[in-house]
């Protein structure tokens, strides 16, 4: 078992190594096959491992070796396996496998085919490391590694300058967050002498004083790290730009897995975070604000992938709001269902883009019902995210809303409104894309075709999951087992709900009614009346929203420009003149002295012997003075 578990992350790593070393020479079938098979086998191992360990009550800890040892602390290299990590592992490898399969069709004509699979495999390896690690440092390796892969894949078409900029932006913004993460790790080591998850949660339950400055600082630092990786205010701006990468990448990395790393990490450390109520409040505020802002921005986007990107940011905000309300399981539940339906939506959009020969603007689409599988699965995804019962999004979103309500009424109202916005922008997207008349060019119309099976099969599987995923966590009012609570209850503290059943029924009923109304109105507006989003926005609010509240511009002028200016000045003054001048002078002097010393070596033995004797005499003389 020990070594089998080790194989789970190693298989994708081997896939990466094979493809990066020899992928160029291999035929596409083989290099793609290696990539897909590596993830499939690792998924099967995850399932096997989960089944094997489901009987045992406690967490399994595999320590492979002592990694870093100092007198103050020691860090092991080990994996911690329980239902939480198995859940994440199965999402990563399961959804990952489907997306690998999809990529086989999507990337088939690309020259960098082998490179794409190599990077995807590497990503799976790091992501597995992130969720399997038994301490913060191993998670940090994965954390940095997935950041690297994200960078490589966003800039996958590196010949396009804009894409490279997007990749750089993602990497740099993530680095800012990583600083918070590493500071959190250092503070843990400094104050608690350990960074093992189990030990930290145990400490939090026992000796740590609730709300103390230390624990608040640590959790805030770790949360700051999460805001970058999981695209929350203030560090979310990279995610919409990251859509420059190939669509499977957006589905896998920027929707289903990597961006949820922050939620996983906080859930993993739930004991520590519960000991810092202030941090939880901050998380609730940030999550709610992000959910709302991103949803508002999404209503005015016209790029199919940008809408989905802002929707992802918004949904991640929901998850953080759940964490902030102390409902860690609900956060994980929404993470799971979101992984299904958002991966589905992204892959569906990829299929649309594929059919439209690279077109991404929904104003130029419409009437794509002829793509039967894509259309149907996309509709399922849209219904799921909009929260129509009994699809998965309904249950998980409802659970978050109820949990937030028991914490604060106003946050509940904001999130409720956000959920309604979600329904609006998603159906706006859906209707504009698939209904009405075709608005593309003639060539696009002729070229229009359904994607191959390797692309539609993952869509179908994910659609099924998006439908049934919600049954894993049916609310208590329906008197059915809540699988998620049972599964994670031992690892994560589940808050007692103080909400009455009547209230829950009311929320569900009202939200379903409103969503229904929104769908009808949206249909009226975009399909019956055939209104299109105008090219130029009028009015203060519309302009602000369609320009994403000018946040990117604000960051550019407030942060990027001053830093660039400073670094240019430093380069000119400090580096070029001072440092370089100094170094060059020192170097030159050294070289010259080398030249002159060299003359000592004449090649004459007599001189050498003389020097030896002289040296000895000198030593003896020095010795005389030394006494």
């Amino acid at each position: 078992m020990r070594s089998l578990i080790l194989l789970i992350p190693l298989l994708p790593l081997i896939g990466f190594l094979l493809n990066i070393s020899w992928g160029k020479q291999l035929p596409k079938k083989i290099s793609g096959g290696i990539g897909v098979l590596a993830v499939l086998m690792s998924f099967l191992l995850v399932v096997y491992g989960w089944l094997q360990s489901s009987g045992s009550e406690s967490t399994i800890d595999y320590t492979y070796f002592k990694w870093i040892e100092t007198s103050a602390f020691s860090i092991n290299f080990g994996f911690q396996l329980d239902n939480l990590s198995f859940l994440m592992m199965s999402i990563i490898t399961g959804v990952g496998f489907l997306i690998h399969l999809y990529s086989d069709g999507y990337m088939h004509k690309d020259d960098g085919y082998y490179r794409f699979f190599a990077y995807l495999n590497l990503f799976i390896f790091f992501m597995l490391l992130l969720v399997m690690g038994s301490n913060l440092l191993i998670t940090y390796i994965g954390w940095e590694g997935v950041g690297l892969c994200s960078y490589l894949l966003i800039g996958f078409w590196f010949k396009n300058h804009e894409y490279n900029d997007a990749a750089k932006k993602a990497f740099i913004v993530n680095r800012i967050g990583d600083l918070g993460f590493i500071v959190g790790i250092f503070f843990c080591l400094l104050n608690y002498k350990t960074i093992e998850y189990a030990a930290l949660n145990e400490l939090a339950a026992g000796s740590i004083q609730i709300g103390s400055a230390v624990v608040t600082t640590i959790t805030l630092a770790l949360f700051f790290g999460s805001t970058a990786k999981s695209a929350q205010i203030p560090l979310y701006t990279w995610l919409p730009d990251a859509m420059a990468g190939p669509t499977p990448v957006s589905a896998l990395i920027h929707a289903a897995t990597m961006v949820t790393a922050g939620i996983y990490m906080i859930t993993r450390l739930n004991g520590l975070f519960l000991a810092a109520p202030f941090t939880l409040d901050v998380i609730l505020v940030v999550g709610t604000a992000t959910a709302l802002v991103a949803a508002i921005i999404a209503t005015r986007q016209n790029d199919i992938k940008k809408v989905l990107a802002y929707s992802t940011v918004s949904q991640l905000g929901f998850m953080f709001a759940a964490l902030g309300a102390g409902a860690f399981v609900s956060g994980m539940f929404h993470l799971t269902t979101h992984a299904f339906f958002k991966a589905l939506l992204f892959l569906g959009s990829g299929s649309v883009i594929h059919a439209m020969s690279g077109e991404q603007d929904i104003r130029n689409m419409g009437g794509l019902k002829s793509l039967k599988v894509t259309h149907l699965t996309f509709l399922i995804g849209t219904l799921a995210i909009a929260g129509i019962p009994p699809l998965s999004g309904f249950f998980s979103k409802d659970e978050i809303l109820v949990n937030v309500y028991s914490k604060s009424f106003w946050f509940f109202i904001i999130l409720f409104a956000t959920a309604m916005l979600t329904a609006y922008y998603m159906f706006r997207l859906y209707f504009l894309t698939f209904h009405g008349k075709f608005r593309g060019t003639k060539e696009q119309a002729d070229h229009l075709h359904e994607s191959p099976l390797s692309m539609t099969f993952p869509l179908m599987v994910l659609a099924i999951l998006a439908v049934v995923g919600g049954f894993l966590g049916i609310p208590e009012v329906f008197h059915m087992p809540h699988t998620f609570n049972e599964m994670l209850g031992k690892i994560v503290k589940i808050p007692e709900l103080t909400v009455s059943h009547t209230f829950e029924y009311t929320v569900m009923g009202i939200s379903t009614l409103i969503v229904g109304a929104i769908i009808y109105l949206t249909y009226q507006y975009f399909v019956t009346k055939e209104k299109l989003p105008s090219k130029s926005e009028k009015g203060f609010w519309s302009t602000a929203i369609s320009n994403k509240f000018y946040i990117d511009e604000a960051y550019d002028s407030l942060v990027v420009a001053p830093v660039m200016g400073l670094s240019k000045w430093l380069y000119r003054v400090l580096d070029r003149s001072l440092t370089d001048g100094l170094v060059n002078q020192v170097g030159l002097t050294t070289l010259l002295s080398g030249q002159s010393i060299r003359k000592l070596q004449t090649g004459r033995t007599s001189l050498y012997l003389f020097a030896m004797v002289l040296g000895l005499i000198l030593i003896l003389c020095l010795n005389f003075f030394n006494r």
Binding site: G594, T605, L607, M612, I619
Partner: protein
């Protein structure tokens, strides 16, 4: 001790096999026996046995260092095939002499009596004088041999003179008895002179300033594998022997000589690194590089405690491995081009990326760049020196490390330039590649897990 006996027998056997004109086929015998020797030797770890009425004492220090010496020699034999592949003359005598020299080196790290030390020194040196001139038709080789012999004899005389003075002061050649004699009563002045002469003479083999003049000329003239042997085995043995003597006998009275040694260390570091900067011949560069490493290793002798012994051992291992990789790659390049200058490395990364990668590991390790073994070698030596109170020396050594980086990186820079010096293809050779891979992987592993060799001594 078993290894010592087996190696002596092996040397005689190889010498006699010269009758059958087996040439390089004897390597099939030599290399396995040497590898067996490493294991037999390591097997005695922890036994702490003394032999020949306590003339030699195989404690952990001796076992560790002699294992290293045998390992290094094994790797050098791996290079020999490449050097002597086309030799028309018999090579068995050369191989036998290398083995005898190794036997001497082992005596030098395991001695417990000064007579044994001088015996080891001579057993190691005399074959080397012959080996340096073993390329009989080459003028440079002959010159190297003669120079080495003249100066070596001179150095031996100084060592023996120092020894007699020490004997005069302490009335013994036995290390522990010398130790007992010097602690306690006040010693006559000749003891101090004796110690200094002894140090001076020993430093000749280690090539430290001002006893280093032979090194560049001899390194340049000798056949390449012999140069590699001098740079690794001889240097390690000289340092280990000197360290052992000082540590056992004079640890308590280090005040008598430590200041002089500090001056020698600093002079060695500066002179070697400055001279190396503008060298254009690979072997001369390696000679100065070797002298500078002698400077770093001298710091361990300044500190003279168990910590320093560990550090010295680690340093010797990392230095030997990296040096062998460097010489191995040079040998391939030299055979391809027939030249000795640094220029032959130009464009190596395009012609043979494998060798270029090996060169990167070797030279970065020699320069002391983390995470390679060379970095931790320096790190351990420097930390032990700081703990021992030699902060100034460490600062000077670090400055020298920076100077040293220049000439190591210069070679790497050449290997990665676009223009190719020589169009001749660089062929790979199985045994040589195996040696390079082994040593390079060793360098990497020790860099990632420097704890592996800690606490051996």
């Amino acid at each position: 001790m078993t290894a010592l006996i087996i190696l002596s027998l092996l040397g005689i056997l190889v010498l006699m096999m010269g009758l059958f004109h087996l040439k390089n086929k004897v390597l099939i015998l030599i290399i396995p026996v040497l590898i067996a020797g490493i294991f037999l030797n390591a097997n005695e770890y922890g036994l702490n046995a003394s032999y020949f009425s306590q003339m030699v004492h195989f404690d952990n220090f001796a076992i560790s260092f002699s294992s290293l010496l045998i390992l290094t020699t094994t790797l050098i034999f791996g290079l020999c095939l490449q050097q002597y592949k086309t030799s028309k003359k018999p090579v068995e005598d050369i191989y036998a002499l290398i083995i005898f020299s190794l036997v001497g080196a082992i005596c030098m790290v395991s001695f417990n009596n000064l007579i044994m030390f001088i015996l080891g020194l001579e057993i190691m040196s005399v074959p080397l004088y012959v080996l340096a001139g073993s390329n009989r038709e080459n003028v440079l080789s002959n010159e190297a041999s003669l120079k080495y012999f003249l100066m070596g004899a001179f150095a031996s005389a100084i060592v023996i003179f120092g020894m007699t003075l020490i004997f005069g002061a302490t009335n013994s050649f036995q290390l522990d008895e010398i130790r007992n004699a010097v602690s306690g009563t006040k010693m006559p002045g000749v003891l101090q002179v004796g110690i200094l002469l002894f140090i001076g003479g020993s430093l000749f083999k280690a090539a430290a300033v001002p006893f280093h003049f032979w090194a560049p000329d001899v390194y340049q003239g000798s056949p390449t594998v012999i140069t590699a042997f001098m740079a690794t085995v001889v240097k390690t043995a000289a340092f280990a022997g000197l360290f052992r003597f000082m540590m056992v006998a004079f640890q308590d009275i280090s005040g008598l000589w430590v200041n002089i040694l500090v001056i020698i260390t600093i002079a060695t570091l500066f002179l070697a690194n400055f001279s190396a900067l503008s060298q254009t011949d690979f072997k001369r560069l390696m000679a100065y590089s070797g002298i500078s490493h002698a400077g770093y290793m001298l710091i361990a002798i300044l500190v003279l405690n168990m910590n320093a012994a560990d550090a010295l051992f680690f340093y010797s291992v990392s230095y030997s491995l990296a040096t062998i990789v460097a010489f191995g790659i040079f040998l391939t390049m030299k055979n391809a081009t027939g030249e000795y200058s640094l220029e032959i490395f130009k464009g190596l990364s395009r012609k043979n990326p494998f060798l270029a990668f090996g060169l990167v590991i070797a030279f970065l390790s020699l320069a002391g760049i983390p995470p390679l073994a060379g970095f931790f070698g320096k790190y351990f030596i420097f930390t032990s020196a700081i703990k021992g109170g030699f902060l100034t020396v460490v600062i000077i050594a670090i400055i020298n490390t920076m100077i040293g980086a220049y000439y190591y990186l210069k070679v790497l820079n050449m290997a990665f330039t676009k223009d190719v010096y020589h169009s001749a293809p660089v062929k790979n050779h199985l045994l040589l590649d195996a040696v390079i891979v082994f040593a390079a992987i060793g360098t990497l592993i020790l860099g990632f897990f420097p704890g592996l060799l800690q606490g051996f001594i």
